[in-house]
């Protein structure tokens, strides 16, 4: 039993990491209807910039601040140069543009900082929590718990930002209806720039967390692929969906790996998440928390 709990808890905590990446997708999709495939590259870019700065002997917080600034600038630049000229194009064109963006971002970050892998340390050890393993014989990593806490904090901050601030309310208005938002005088393009900046911030958080976990290397860009099943499961428009979806995918994936993997030869984590998401989608085609699709002729 304790093994089962350990697997589920480990899965849930891994799922939180997926949610962190998925959050960035959701923010941009909600506000501008762009499926931002470049989120994974943004994560990579942020993590690489941060780790390179710290390795050059910068103070941790200073490096964090500078990286955040860089992410905001990158976000605004992307909105200016890529998405503004593509307004009103079909979603597939926008998707392709963001895939093109991944090439640019990955090339730029490796050109700037080199392509060798880095380790990242935040001072939180990746070891099991002692009293849990002694008392209940359950191994849960201290760092995973910290990551979950950060994710929770991030969601809380985002929720506050969206609910309480003026900009947040404008963001929600834009997400609901672009034209109505324009009509009441919300500057659409400022809002999009802000959303991209916020997505850059989320990418930084996700990048640092994933960087500590797996090291900062090119493979970090694949985190986006990990986040995709989470997205279709939770629904593209829902922050809550990104969290719940991440938890379901994380737990399901771990359980399948442990209990199903040995029968089919292992390595199923590359596609099993998609199977879970597809099963959910067959029941609810718009994801768990996505906006209901109404067909009109």
């Amino acid at each position: 039993m304790s093994f089962f709990i350990e697997v589920v808890a480990g899965g849930l905590l891994a799922g939180v990491m997926y949610s962190l990446v998925a959050l960035g997708f959701v923010l941009i999709y909600k506000a501008s209807g762009v499926f931002n495939f470049a989120q994974g590259s943004l994560v990579f870019f942020a993590a690489l910039t941060f780790v390179s700065l710290t390795e050059r002997g910068w103070n941790l917080w200073l490096a964090l601040g500078v990286t955040l600034l860089a992410m905001v600038v990158v976000g605004i630049l992307i909105e200016r140069t890529v998405l503004r000229p593509l307004v009103n194009q079909p979603p597939i064109t926008l998707l392709m543009a963001t895939i093109g963006l991944t090439f640019v971002l990955e090339g730029a970050s490796q050109l700037m900082w080199g392509s060798q892998p880095h380790g990242l340390e935040l001072g939180i050890p990746d070891v099991p929590i002692e009293w849990l393993s002694q008392q209940w014989n359950i191994n849960i990593s201290q760092f995973d718990l910290f990551a979950a806490f950060v994710a929770g904090l991030l969601v809380a901050v985002l929720a506050l930002f969206f609910q309480k601030t003026r900009i947040g309310r404008a963001l929600r208005a834009v997400a609901d209806d672009h034209q109505a938002a324009l009509a009441v005088g919300i500057p659409l393009q400022h809002i999009w720039a802000i959303v991209w900046a916020v997505a850059g911030f989320v990418a930084l958080v996700a990048g640092v967390m994933w960087g500590v976990r797996n090291g900062v290397q090119y493979a970090l860009t694949f985190t986006a692929l990990k986040a995709l099943p989470v997205l279709i499961l939770g629904g593209f428009e829902s922050i809550a969906g990104a969290i719940v979806g991440g938890l379901i995918i994380g737990a399901g994936e771990k359980l399948a790996e442990v209990y199903l993997g040995p029968f089919v030869g292992g390595g199923i984590e590359s596609w099993f998440a998609y199977v879970i998401a597809l099963l959910f989608l067959l029941v609810r085609p718009e994801g768990l928390f996505g906006e209901k699709i109404i067909d009109r002729v």
Binding site: F35, T81, V82, P85, L86, Q89, P91, I92, T93, L95, M96, A97, I99, G100, L101, T102, F103, V104, L105, E106, G107, A108, Q110, L111, G114, S115, L225, L228, P229, L231, I232, F236, V264, G265, G267, I268, S270, W271, Y274, V275, A277, L278, L281, L282, P285, E286, G287, I293, D295, R296, V297
Partner: protein, 358 residues
């Protein structure tokens, strides 16, 4: 002056409905085919055949397949490379396990297997649409590669799933030289492109387009949703499967499953976006652009090094190339979101009026 349909009267329905109704188009297509079948084999060399033209043709076929699904039937797919992988590995198995298997038969079997897999992964399209479907097709991408890596039978228990294409032979004539491989590829691609062009203006193609434009309206006027969508997946996957088999047999020779990663799917998707969504010609133009551009960039960087007398490290060059490639794709999407095929159409309109534009 030269290119206009004025004066070309059609006196029969057959003449009115032919594939290329304008005389100049017919001449141009014929000339192109003559060049491709006769002139190119005479003047081309090994490098051109094996590194440029053959991959271009193979990827055009894959792009054509994806264009049938995405451009005509409106179902976004990111799993193209997986269907190509199915085609390649199943053609290999057909050659391996069936005695005296003709090579074209093996390609067809590869395509049919890909079509079957396509139908299975097309099933979610009955429930989910748009970007959700696109992400769902990623399942095909990851599952198929996993299966090929795990199930030893598919790659005949070779280490890490690498297969080597068998010797090809048509009616006793061995196909070994890169020129012969080019001609075989060209023949298959030309026939399949013609078939696609015709199919898309038949009832099937029209029902695909109806579903693309508005699926609810299409089902209201009596187009069977399930049959048509799955048919689109099947035809598209068949094309991709044959392309995959050609990729293995005529281009690479030795293939590992990792040749068919998501990267390849994206490249094929880029081809149809840059070439033109919903256009047969666009598939070819896009494939030409995407295959030729990296080669061109390589040349440029070589010249730059010689010109500036600086030694650039390989990593720098490849990163810079990636950046330019991505940037150019974005630039293309911004200036011509409808792709190269649209440019060609505009050119045709202009030509029609030239030299008196009023």
């Amino acid at each position: 002056m030269l290119y206009r349909e004025a004066g070309q009267f059609k006196s029969t329905y057959a003449a009115d409905q032919q594939l290329f109704p304008i005389l100049q188009d017919r001449i141009a297509v014929l000339a192109l085919l003559v060049v491709a079948f006769v002139v190119v084999p005479l003047i081309g060399n090994q490098y051109w055949f094996s590194a440029i033209i053959t991959p271009f043709l193979v990827l055009s076929l894959a792009a054509l397949g994806l264009n049938i699904l995405t451009g005509y039937a409106g179902q976004l797919s990111l799993g193209t490379a997986a269907f190509m992988a199915v085609g390649a590995f199943m053609a290999y198995n057909a050659m391996l396990r069936v005695p005296h298997m003709p090579i074209l038969g093996a390609f067809a079997i590869g395509g049919l297997c890909a079509a079957a897999v396509g139908i299975v992964f097309g099933l979610p399209s009955l429930r989910i649409k748009g970007l959700y479907l696109a992400v769902a097709t990623l399942a095909a991408q990851f599952f198929v590669l996993w299966a090929i890596n795990r199930i030893g039978w598919i790659s005949n228990y070779s280490s890490s799933g690498v297969i080597t294409a068998q010797r090809m032979e048509i009616f006793g004539y061995p196909i070994e030289h890169s020129r012969d491989k080019y001609l075989l590829t060209l023949l298959i691609v030309a026939v399949m492109a013609l078939a696609a062009k015709n199919l898309m203006r038949s009832e099937t193609g029209r029902s695909f387009m109806a579903i693309r434009d508005m699926d609810v309206a299409a089902s209201v006027i009596g187009i069977p949703m399930m049959k048509t969508k799955l048919l689109a997946f099947a035809i598209s996957s068949f094309y991709c499967g044959v392309a995959g088999a050609l990729y293995a047999y005529c281009y690479l020779g030795t293939v590992e499953p990792e040749a068919f990663t998501l990267d390849l799917s994206f490249r094929v998707l880029f081809m149809i976006i840059i070439g033109g969504v919903g256009s047969i010609l666009g598939s070819f133009l896009g494939a030409a652009f995407i295959t030729l551009f990296p080669i061109f960039l390589n040349f440029i960087s070589g010249w730059m090094e010689a010109l500036l007398r600086v030694e650039m490290s390989h990593a720098v060059v490849s990163n810079a190339e990636a950046m330019i490639f991505g940037g150019l794709i974005i630039f293309f999407l911004i200036v011509e979101p409808n792709g190269l095929a649209r440019l060609w159409q505009i050119a045709k309109e202009k030509l029609r009026l030239w030299p008196f534009p009023h």
